[in-house]
Amino acid sequence: MSFIPDIRLFSCHYTSQQSCADEGRELNQLNFPENVKMTRVVCTGKLEEITLLKAFEDGADGVYVVGCPAEGCHNVRGSQRAAKRVEAVRSALSELGVEEERAKMFFLPRGLHPEFVDVAQEMNDQVTELGPSPF
């Protein structure tokens, strides 16, 4: 039986602004993986480390964050802050002996670009390969 990972995406309002267009149908048509559950946040800089950890506690096999380009964040340094929190989660995972690839940060331009779908697929492939989370 093939494994379908539970993947949680936290994306800022700006980067994901078109992802909700047409009730998400557009994303579907572009092959955005169905098993990636997206939570939109006002700014990824608002994300707390605990929110990412709770996603793992809640059964996620992989967690990733998509925010504005590091040098072009709508809120100036929001996505850079998010990247630090993702980094903290990655190092905690590795302290626990878990693959840090299960948590990732991506910087993408605003709006619906093919990269938004690409990184979802990349994350999906990566976590599928890693297998179920040990938590």
Binding site: E48, E49, I50, L53, K54, F56, E57, A92, E95, L96, G97, V98, P134, F135
Partner: protein, 222 residues
């Protein structure tokens, strides 16, 4: 303030591996300011302990709570609200907090979540540096306000040692030689004459070498 940092997770999880009900107890004092053991860090640690135990195939309930300060009887007393509910308290306070809980709770397990490192200050956001070692016999009036006990690698009372290069200490090229700083500063203050006087042999008994220290302020006791 007291500066501390979280212990490696493996060490913490090892301490409590057989506990079933664990309280991660934060302190809202110094360790909150240095982002090591405040409410936010305790919440994160509780989550990491749950994840770590789960990965190890163990199950335990892990909660988090906080006290205003763990180094103060007035506040630590409120730990009574958790009495009998947990088989381990993991304190994210400095070592003082852990000791205070241990003093107060002869029957209960308390474990340190942090390594208590030094008395320091926040030099810039996210950076803390050691400034004082709490030696109990302050010499800052003789050294232009810069501490040779805490900041000289050799705790010299008459420096520099001769090992400094370009104003940096020989232990690390990025650390200022505090004796160079003292020398420069005394010069600027036109107090260089004072540096010709050799510091007398120190009485280190106040620096913890005389056993645990105690301070009583009769005017404050009731």
């Amino acid at each position: 303030m007291i500066i501390a940092e979280r212990k490696p997770l493996a060490e913490i999880i090892e301490m409590i591996q057989d506990c079933k009900k664990i309280l991660v107890l934060a302190c809202r004092g110094c360790v909150t300011v240095c982002s090591a053991g405040g409410e936010r860090e305790a919440e994160i640690l509780a989550s990491l302990i749950r994840l770590g135990l789960k990965k190890a195939g163990k199950s335990a309930e892990v909660f988090d709570a906080s006290l205003v300060r763990q180094c103060d009887k007035e506040y630590i007393d409120s730990i009574d609200q958790f009495k009998g509910q947990y088989d381990a308290i993991v304190s994210t306070a400095c070592g003082v907090g852990v000791n205070f809980i241990a003093n107060l709770r002869p029957e209960d397990n308390v474990f340190p979540a942090l390594n208590t490192t030094f008395f320091g200050g926040s030099a810039e956001q996210g950076v803390w540096t050691e400034q004082c070692a709490g030696c109990g016999d302050c010499v800052l009036h003789l050294t232009g306000g810069l501490c040779p006990v805490a900041r000289c690698a050799k705790n010299l009372m008459n420096g520099p040692c001769g090992g400094s290069v370009d104003g940096r200490c020989e232990i690390h090229s990025e650390v200022d030689c505090v004796w160079q700083n003292i020398y420069d500063r005394m010069g600027r203050l036109q107090r260089q004459e004072e540096m010709t006087v050799s510091a007398p042999i120190r009485d280190w008994s106040t620096a913890g070498h005389g056993g645990p220290r105690k301070q009583v302020r009769e005017d404050l006791t009731v």
